[in-house]
Structure formats: C-alpha cells, structure tokens
Amino acid sequence: MSPAGLAWRGLVRQPARAALGVAGIAVVGALLFDMLLLSRGLVVSFRDILEGAGFDVRVTATDAPPLLGPPLRDAETLAETVRALPEVRDAVPLRSGKAEATAADGSTLPIYFFGTGSRSGHGWTAIEGSGLTPSADAGTVPVVVNRRLASRLSLTPGSKLRLRGACGSQATALPPVEMKVQGIVAFPFDSSAGLTAMTTLPGFLRVCANESPGLAELLLVASKPEAGADAAVAAIRRVAPGLHVFSNEQLLDRLQRTDFSYFRQISFVLSAITIFFAFLLVTTLLTVSVNQRLGELAVLRALGFRRWRIVSGLLCESLLLVGAGGLLALPGGALLALWLDRILRTMPDLPERLHFFVFEPRAVLLHVAIIALTALLAAAYPAVLVARLPIAATLRREVVS
C-alpha cells in the first residue's frame, strides 16, 4: 500500500475527527487567505483608481497629502511650463472647494466642488451627455455632475444647476451662480455618498468669487508613454524645484508606509496567528492520532514496512488534512472577504471604487505555499515519534495492556 493510501485509510477510519480537523483548517485557512488579500488589497485597488484617472504624476506645493496642503501659486503658468516639457503629454491644474445647492424640498445640499483646467482626456467615465467644454457663450458656466447629485436634483444634460460657493474657511454669503449641466459622469475618487460637481477654472472662480485666482491645489500631469512617469517627475523637478512632484508609484509607496500601514500590520499579525493556529491544530491531531496507533504502527514495522514509508504516510495524512482544509478555505475565504470588505467600505468618505480585499493570483499561490509548509512542519514532531518507535517494546506494551 502506498503512503497516500495508508494516510487516506488513517483519516477515513476516524471520520468525525478528520472532518473537524478539515473544518478547523478551512476556517483558519479562509482567514489566512483573506489576510493575504488584505495585505495588498488597498494598494492594488488604489492603483487601479489612480490609473483610471488618466494621470500618472501629481504636483503639489508641499508634501502634504493632495488637496490637504497649501495651494500652488500661479498654477496656470506652471501648467503651461510643465506642458511644454518633452516628457509631458498633458498638465491640468485642479482646484477644490465646497459649494451648496438647494434641493427640491428646500434643504441645502453640501457639494464637493472642483475646478479643472482644460484637458485632452476626461479622467472620468461619462454616463450621460458630454465632457466639460467651455461654452461659446461667456455667460454660461459649464458643469459636470456625478450620478448621485444628478439623481438628488433630477438633473439631466442641459439642465440648470444653481450653486452657491462655500470654498473658503470663512463663512460668506455669495450669490448663487447658474450653471449648465453638460454631462453626468463617474469621478474616479467619488465616495459612496458624496455629491460632486466639476467646472472649468473660470467657472470655479465665478462660484467661489472670494477665492484668489491663479491658485490650484494640485497639478495633474500625464507623461508621454515613451518617456514614462519617472522621467516626467525628474523633468518637472528641474523646472519647478521648490514643488513636491510625485508619480503614482511614489504616492502608493508613501500610502503603504502611512495611511494603509494599519491594515498591512493587521493582516500580518492575523496571518501569523492563523498559521500558528493551523500548525497547532494539525500537530495536535496527528500527534494524538499517532499515540493512539502506536501498536498498529509497530505491527506494520514488524511486518516489514520501512520507516520512511510510515513517515511518508504521516506526511501524506498531514497534507491531505491541510490540503482539504486549504482548498475549502479558498471559496470560504472569498465569501468571507466579500463580507469583511462590505463592512470596511462603510467607512465615511472612502472612494466608492476602493476595495480592501482584492483578488490576486499571487495571493492564491502564497496561500497554497504557506498551507503546504504548515502541513510539513506540523507533521515533523509526530514523524519523529514514528521514526523513533521501538518496535519490540511497543508490541510488548500493547500485548501486556
């Protein structure tokens, strides 16, 4: 009989024990799989959002997170300078503020309000209507809105939207500005509850009339594909040495060390605990199983079974137990990840497209490798017990007892 056959018979002889062992490993394996997904999920998801925006370099005044630091001065001139660089395809200044709209029931709706320079690509997904194009009529202020705002105010392309600026830190009583909705779009960083509107830079200054012209919180830059983001970053740093210039990868690297580090550490700690737990479970099951079958194993050895064959059988038993649990852990982990992701995504102001648990083939490979290693390590101690089993003394003890 092969070691695998021996292992299989050993397991099916105690079905309740084997089933409970597999169930335990499946549960901790599911948690391990989820922690592997969580360890890189935010980075993968955030990279996807960043790349979806169509820009791979960003410029800010300081190293504060984008939109949270002091603004860039003379932003349109800076954009022109950057746009003229051979490594750069497009450079778009972005202003951010807040505005208020009045709902049909008379209540005030706070809105995230952005002003953007003209761009060759949109950086958003158009759902209805066109993108943001300056109107031929100087009196008309164009605006694109997200679906949630469109639905709250029953807006369609061509509708009028009246916004009152609330951009500064001080309360003001600016008159509302009438704008023409050119499109309903999905912005990459839209939160699940946020109402967002974006207009041109002159439109922004019309609504936020108390804001100084020439400022921008952020300069979005798209590098030329043949040059790449790193070359664009270096080129911009040369022409604007006092500013903070960073690529998507640099931003992700920074987020991984700061904002996302909590989840990376949680995933590391829980992965370590689950691996230890699985190791303990399998070691205990196999050790007790071996102790209960010492007589039987001594008989097999006396019948001529080689030591390596018995030890291999034990390793196979461990691999079967952990392998079955590990396989069940994959669909279980996927379902658990959906549940945990849904819980975490209820955090306020998160981008709607951001996920904490993101499937990657490398997570499955890592999961399989860890599970296999755990199975081998867990079988080590019982294997030593079996390898050192004194045949004659064990058989005598078995007969006497």
Partner: protein, 282 residues
C-alpha cells in the same frame, strides 16, 4: 504659562534653521515629535514663516515641548506642530491686502455649562450671527464613524476565529473522549449511570474551560503593554491601542466557557450513546 495658544498645522508654516536672536522673541511650544525630528530644545530660537517657501521668517523662542493630544484620526500623520500666542499667529499670517485677516480666526472653542445644550446653542448662535456655523465637538454615535466600522470589522474577525477555535476544540474533545473509551466502559460496567458520567464530564469541562478562559484573559492582560508599546513606537503616538477591560474579559469568559463545556458534552455524549460491549471493544 502661555495664556492663549493657537495650534499651527504642520503645513501652514515652514520651520527654518535655529538661529540666535538679539531681542527676546515671542514664545512658542513645539510637539515632542517636532523637537525630536529637528533636535530642538527649550530655549532654542527658531524662525517661522507663514509662507510655504519660508519667505519673511520671524524668530520665536521655544518655551516648552508638549505631547500632542492623541488623535486616532491622525494616527499616521507626523505631529510636527507648534503652538503660538494667538496675536503672534495672526501677525504671522496677516495678509497686507486683506485688513480683515488680522482680525479673523478659523474657529472659537466654546465650553458650555451643560454639554447637552450644544445643539440648541448652535441653532441660537446661527440665528443671532448669520454665517456662523456652530457644531458640537462630540460626534453622534450613529455607527458610521471609522472607529465604529473598525470595531465591526474586528468583531467579524473575532467571530471567524471563534468558529475555527470551536472546530479545533471539538476535534480535541472527540480525541479525548476516544482515549477514555475503555475507562468509560468500565465505569458503565460497574453500574455508574450515563447521567453520572455525563455530570462528571460537565464538571471537568467547566473547570478546564474556565481555567482556559482565565488563562486567555490573563495572557491578554499581560501582553497588553507590549502590544501598546510596539504600536506607540511604530506610530510615534501616545494612543492606547489595546485595553483589556472588565466587560471585554467578561464577554470572552461568557463565550468561551459555555463553548468549552458544550464541546466536551457533545464529544462525551457521542461516546456514551454506544453499547458497553462496544466501548470495551469486546
């Protein structure tokens, strides 16, 4: 002591190199993190500018170093902050083109005699001074804040680990019951009833489960300091990350003891249902 202080965000001001000043400059406080990062000491004179480029700096003397109030919302932010007398801060940030800037503040903190009046106070103030927004500092516990979400996430993880532990426990109990198969058979043979044996298992399970639960709580309580120190070092904060409180310990014990007892009973009952002859393998 500084009678009136105002906090500066780390982005508002640029800290230039320490330089001696001939006259006694105004005093400031800096955070421990800023002092450590820039090797600042009490009595040092630093130059601070209201412009990100460091233009037009003004000298200030460090009068003290303070630990900033821990803020979970700013866990990963470097707390490079300084506190200035409000007139000094306003002079530093004054915009010559805007006369109002020398008389404007971002916010005024108000302490009410009765905190329950916060909403009413906000409404009354907004009615008396249009354009003023008064908000209570206490956040409504609507379960939507980031920490409420994190609590739900940790609870979900705890539920999964309880499920895994239960399977582990049941497997162990099944093995333990199997090991005592012959002993139970002999006890049955000499006339001890199933009920008595089950009661013995119940008491034994209760003692073992209680000991295990207490060990778990004591272990958590003993390692609490190490976990806190690690994360406080990692994030350079005075925040407390783990605290084993009496309600949490009670919740753990109330969950683990019944689970342990039930697992023991279930495994033993599976054994006791068998015939005495089968138990003795005869």
């Amino acid at each position: 002591m500084l009678p009136l202080l105002s906090s500066l965000g780390p982005l508002a001001l640029a800290l230039a190199s320490a330089t001696p000043a001939p006259a006694e400059p105004p005093k400031i406080l800096v955070t421990r993190q800023l002092a450590e990062a820039q090797r600042l000491q009490i009595g040092d004179v630093v130059s601070i500018s209201g412009d990100p480029s460091g233009r037009d700096p003004k000298p200030f003397k460090i009068a003290g170093i303070y630990e900033p109030t821990p803020d979970p919302m700013r866990l990963v932010a470097k707390r490079y902050e300084a506190r200035l007398h409000l007139p000094d801060l306003m002079a530093l940030n004054a915009d010559p083109k805007d006369p109002l800037s020398a008389e404007s503040v971002t916010a005024v903190n108000v302490k009410l005699r009765d905190p329950a009046d916060a909403e009413a106070f906000g409404r009354e103030l907004a009615a008396r001074v249009p354009g003023i927004l008064a908000l209570p500092t206490a956040r409504a516990d609507d379960g939507a804040g980031p920490f409420a979400v994190l609590e739900r996430f940790h609870l979900a993880i705890a539920l999964v680990t309880v499920l895994g532990s239960t399977a582990f426990l049941l497997a162990l109990m099944v093995m333990r019951a199997e090991e005592r198969r012959e002993t139970v058979g002999i006890l049955r043979l000499i006339g001890i009833s199933r009920r008595h044996i089950l009661l013995e298992v119940l008491v034994e399970g209760l003692v073992v489960a209680t000991a295990g639960a207490v060990f778990g709580v004591v272990f958590a309580w003993l390692t609490e300091g190490a976990v806190n120190r690690f994360f406080q070092w990692r994030y350079d904060t005075a925040l407390v990350f783990v605290r084993v409180t009496a309600p949490i310990a009670a919740r753990c014990v109330s969950l683990s003891v019944p689970l342990g007892v039930l697992a023991g009973l279930a495994a033993s009952w599976a054994l006791l249902r068998r015939d005495v002859v089968a138990l003795l393998r005869r």
